[in-house]
């Protein structure tokens, strides 16, 4: 890997956070960071987003939970996580050794009260830089996605959480809607500080030998390069309509993909599925991004934001 050229200013101010660069791992594709420390210095990252955290411990769905699809994959993890108390006590303090690394906690639940309780717990932790409200997980029966597909419900949820949280509130939207702009405007109006786009599309793969859906859960969330065009389109449309910043997510595997999302209007991006095939994906992508900027005379990475929106 080539070292990033230091002629490029990679820093992004995102809400009250200062990101060393605009690249962070996506929720669910980084666990709580411990494993990745074997591969690289986490301080290279712009920020981290940890796995969805719920009030109680959850064991998730049955396996198989994963299926490969053309240029993508399906997952039906079902929010397996140790619960917010454990996360606060065991997982988050490990990031204290990186004082300049913002830690974004992805919050999920079933009812509004669950979400509120998770956030109230997180308020007590000194290790949380921002909350990413996950109202878009397609993999649990009553797992928040109804909030993610109905603008009124989404707004209600965001309004309530905003009144509780002490840190900036990012709302992660589901792409499985007719009108993503309507959803985005609803959560902006309700007080969201930023929007993450996109969570997974809902898909299914059938095991034709076994004559049944491959995933034990039947349906799963489609991620990876396959969904990138949908994600870029939604980032473009939403960032043209809202005033708050947008985090771009979906199929990013190279620095050029990051540039595409930023030109579409993303202030920063998250990398999910790419971490699975390449544990070094995030630092590699950061280098590729810096190099592209260097070669194209882009002095500040923030100059890319919205460049294609004309």
């Amino acid at each position: 890997m080539n070292k990033s050229p230091n002629s490029v200013d990679m820093q992004v101010k995102f809400l009250s956070l200062t990101l060393k660069n605009p690249v962070m791992p996506a929720s669910g594709c980084f666990s709580f960071g411990q494993e990745m420390e074997n591969f690289y210095d986490l301080d290279l990252l712009g920020a981290v987003v940890v796995k969805a955290t719920t009030l109680e411990e959850r064991s998730g769905n049955k396996t198989p939970r994963l299926a490969e699809t053309p240029a993508g994959m399906l997952n039906s993890i079902g929010l397996q996580n140790p619960g917010v108390i454990q996360v606060i006590q065991e997982e988050l303090p490990r990031f204290r050794k990186y004082p300049n690394l913002p830690v974004i906690v992805n919050v999920a639940g079933t009812a509004v009260e669950d979400y509120v309780e998770v956030v109230e717990n997180l308020n007590k932790s000194p290790d949380v830089s921002a909350i990413e409200l996950n109202i878009s997980c397609p993999n649990v029966k009553c797992g928040g996605i109804q909030f993610g597909t109905d603008p009124t419900m989404a707004a209600g949820m965001v309004h309530t959480i905003k009144s509780v949280t002490k840190v900036p509130l990012i709302v992660k939207l589901s792409p499985n809607v007719t009108d993503i702009v309507e959803m985005a405007l609803a959560v902006e109006e309700a007080g969201a500080d930023a929007i993450s786009l996109i969570n997974t599309l809902i898909g299914m793969h059938i095991d034709i030998e076994k004559r049944r859906p491959l995933l034990a859960n039947g349906i799963g969330g489609l991620s990876g390069p396959a969904i990138k065009p949908v994600a870029v389109r939604m980032v473009y449309e939403v960032s043209s309509q809202v005033q708050i910043p947008v985090l771009g997510i979906g199929g990013i595997r190279t620095g050029q993909d990051v540039i595409e999302f930023m030109m579409a209007g993303a202030s920063a991006v998250q990398v999910g599925t790419a971490n699975f095939i390449d544990p070094m994906a995030c630092p590699r992508i950061i280098d590729e991004l810096a190099q592209w900027c260097d070669q194209h005379g882009v002095k500040k990475v923030t100059d890319l934001i919205g460049a294609a929106r004309g």
Partner: protein, 259 residues
């Protein structure tokens, strides 16, 4: 981790291949039989996920690893194109392998089909440390039998085939009679889930402890996606544990199978 050189690849049967390559890590620093390697199929992004294959043999002196795999889907079929001198991106050895116990005198290795490979290095290590090895292997047919010499070199070998074309007619569990298991201190099994379930049952009846190597679909292979879990009973609690990180080998008595 990263790119390593392919040393050799050869076909063992119509669709089973043996692939030898430079180890991504220094084997003399330690590894366990039962660990796995995580293969990136091509150097582009044509495949979204890596493919896990068990370590079958390790040559510590030359720092080389051999895996033995069946070409079934697109990914493993593509791996068959690798030849000496090619570069391939491999992570590993990963996970927790088979644990050996001081004082064991005689062990039983139970393998089914493409689950046999990880037993080979285990057998070799037992043999080297003078633990008696009995291997019981099951295959669909004689044509699919693999690694018989490697295992018989390390101890006694018994085979069952579903069509009776080699050894006993039937499933490998039918070999595991009370007499057969007499004097066994511990067992180690790898194979399809249906076989592991039956083995767990039989060996519980025989009152012999052992290990099962589980197979779950893997995403990352390094513990970040939580895709590969299996329910494991430990400390009075059943928890979905990551087979890539805490497994793929678990104590047989801890493993929970569906009904």
């Amino acid at each position: 981790m990263g790119y390593v050189s392919v040393i050799a690849q050869e076909a063992l049967t119509a669709d089973v291949y043996s692939l030898t390559f430079e180890s991504p890590t220094d084997l003399s620093q330690g590894f366990e039989p039962g660990q796995f390697l995580h293969f990136r199929v091509t150097d582009s992004f044509d495949f979204t996920l890596r493919r896990p294959l068990s370590l079958c043999a390790a040559d510590v002196q030359n720092n080389q690893i051999t895996v033995v795999y069946r070409a079934q889907g697109e990914g493993t079929k593509r791996l068959t194109r690798l030849k000496a001198g090619d570069r391939v991106d491999v992570l590993g050895p990963l996970g927790h392998g088979f644990l050996t116990h001081q004082g064991d005198k005689k062990v039983l290795l139970i393998g089914g089909g493409i689950g046999v490979p990880p037993l080979v290095e285990l057998a070799r290590q037992f043999h080297e440390s003078q633990v008696r090895v009995v291997s019981a292997l099951g295959f669909a047919t004689q044509a699919q039998a693999i690694l018989l010499d490697e295992l018989s070199d390390c101890g006694s070998l018994f085979v069952a085939t579903q069509d009776g074309s080699l050894g006993q007619h039937g499933f490998v569990t039918q070999l595991l009679t009370e007499d057969f298991c007499a004097g066994i201190d511990r067992y180690y099994a790898c194979g399809p889930t249906s076989m592991l379930k039956a083995v767990q049952q039989v060996m519980r009846d025989r009152n012999i402890a052992g290990y099962l190597s589980l197979e779950e679909r893997m995403g990352c292979g390094i513990g970040i996606c939580v895709g590969c879990v299996h329910p494991i009973a430990r400390d009075g609690k059943v928890v979905n544990r990551k087979t890539c990180k805490e497994g793929p080998v678990f104590l047989a008595e801890e493993v929970i199978f569906d009904e």
